[in-house]
Symmetry: C2
Subunit: 327 residues, 2 copies
Amino acid sequence: MVRIGIYGYGNLGRGVENAIRQNDDLELVAVFSRRDPATVKINTPGVPVLKAEEAEKMTDKIDVMIICGGSATDLPVQTPALAKLFNVVDSFDTHAKIPEHFDNVDAAAKQSGKTAIISAGWDPGMFSINRLYGGAILPDGKDYTFWGKGVSQGHSDAIRRVEGVADGKQYTIPVDEALAAVRSGSNPELTTREKHTRECFVVAKEGADKAKIEAEIKNMPNYFSDYDTTVHFISQDELNEKHSGIPHGGFVIRSGKTGANSENTHIIEYSLKLDSNPEFTASVLVCCARAAARMNGENTIGCKTILDIPPSYLSAKSGAQLRKELL
Amino acid sequence: MVRIGIYGYGNLGRGVENAIRQNDDLELVAVFSRRDPATVKINTPGVPVLKAEEAEKMTDKIDVMIICGGSATDLPVQTPALAKLFNVVDSFDTHAKIPEHFDNVDAAAKQSGKTAIISAGWDPGMFSINRLYGGAILPDGKDYTFWGKGVSQGHSDAIRRVEGVADGKQYTIPVDEALAAVRSGSNPELTTREKHTRECFVVAKEGADKAKIEAEIKNMPNYFSDYDTTVHFISQDELNEKHSGIPHGGFVIRSGKTGANSENTHIIEYSLKLDSNPEFTASVLVCCARAAARMNGENTIGCKTILDIPPSYLSAKSGAQLRKELL
């Protein structure tokens, strides 16, 4: 059994808890929270909720700590600190800062002799693996990543900061024509606007100027101005009823050539269609926890990413079983 | 530079030769053939074609031998024999016999201190990896593999053995309705007949009984009788003109549930659309050769499959580059 702790109990932490229950070789030992443990109700009977500070007393009871904080401010601090005590897994997803985060976590884990797996999930994560496989197999080619249809938390937050907006949700949607062009193997050059559209469902405060809200959203730099954006005004009830989910997904497509004269085209496509973004991410984190325990047992120390994990280490099945059943 | 030998020079061997040229860190050292080397023309200037028996004299010049024989009779003998001399990669694809082949190659490679990677390609190979990832991430689920549209060599051979048939080609085609049902997340139970159809293009010998040929094909056990099969009679010219390619591909789809009450469905789909089956397989073999050289350098000895290879080992890029560019 791999004994697991969950550090941080939001959507992602709850997803990890549910995912652990789907795996007979994994055991949830404790949930750690910065909130008052008495106020945190979890789904697994008999498992304690402890204050975050108590983690350091549990080093002999937990094989892998899955850290479920946010990438902006939590993980840059939590992952290096916890890697001094535990094997850890996180879902750090600020792409531009991954090298820096890697170095910080690597130094901590090497000092403690632990194994740390960072940036697990689907992007970074499974999408990264597919970009890697595609590029390695078809070096004479090009890869494309499309996101959606799905809810972008960052863009939804941006909408909600607009004056006069009470609530809002934003969907990122890949453009069908762009997907078709990529799948044709023509290796098109696509602009930001050609790849994705953005659809916003906005609840306006009473008496707010809707035309002004719409204009402000559509012209918002970085978030919306480079995209074709649609804004729908709806009621809070309709938003709650129809847009409370956190679906997401997307596509990684590699198109490449082979042959004596590059005469043959190949298309590799990987896609995800997820009802719940945090629950799927949690499911990846849980597999990585299994791998982290095994790698540490083999003395593979320091910071790793999902790109460094032999696929078989993610599975509960033995090598012989995998060869017989899946190869 | 990883110095590579090609053992066997048919469609697959030619594909490996072309793929090596796409990778700056790989070098083709020699091609080995059972034919008279004087009769074998290869595409790479300055590279010698040698008799198969001469391989054993080249152990200090070749880092990895890519074995391009057939799975029926060549590889079961060649891979264990060559693993006593070289790091090797093969594409052994008789699924039911993989455990036995693994054991034979493992014993040979452990004796010599070499690294052997067997059953690389796309199925077994990339499809296997995707079945593994899907099952590890979504244990409460089901996976489906569809093949095609593509040419099945085994079924084309079976057609050509029918009395009165001069030539023929068979396409395996996934059924759209079955794909749609799987993508819906309903986890359908599908029969063999519901998943694929088979389409045959047949050139009849002069005076042959076409109705008899058609009936014999459609009722052939194992190959066709469990499928809805269509037979088209065409001329040799039309067969040559329109059906000389070796396209293939297919789909691996994992559908699974997460959540406190299994309320969320996720669909993971991996698909390939390949103009040339052997050239794509060759491209996978070449990445595996890179990994075999690196694993042997790290003293990872014995038989491995693509399920055991850290994805990053397939790439020519460094870990830092991969984290920065792809993660």
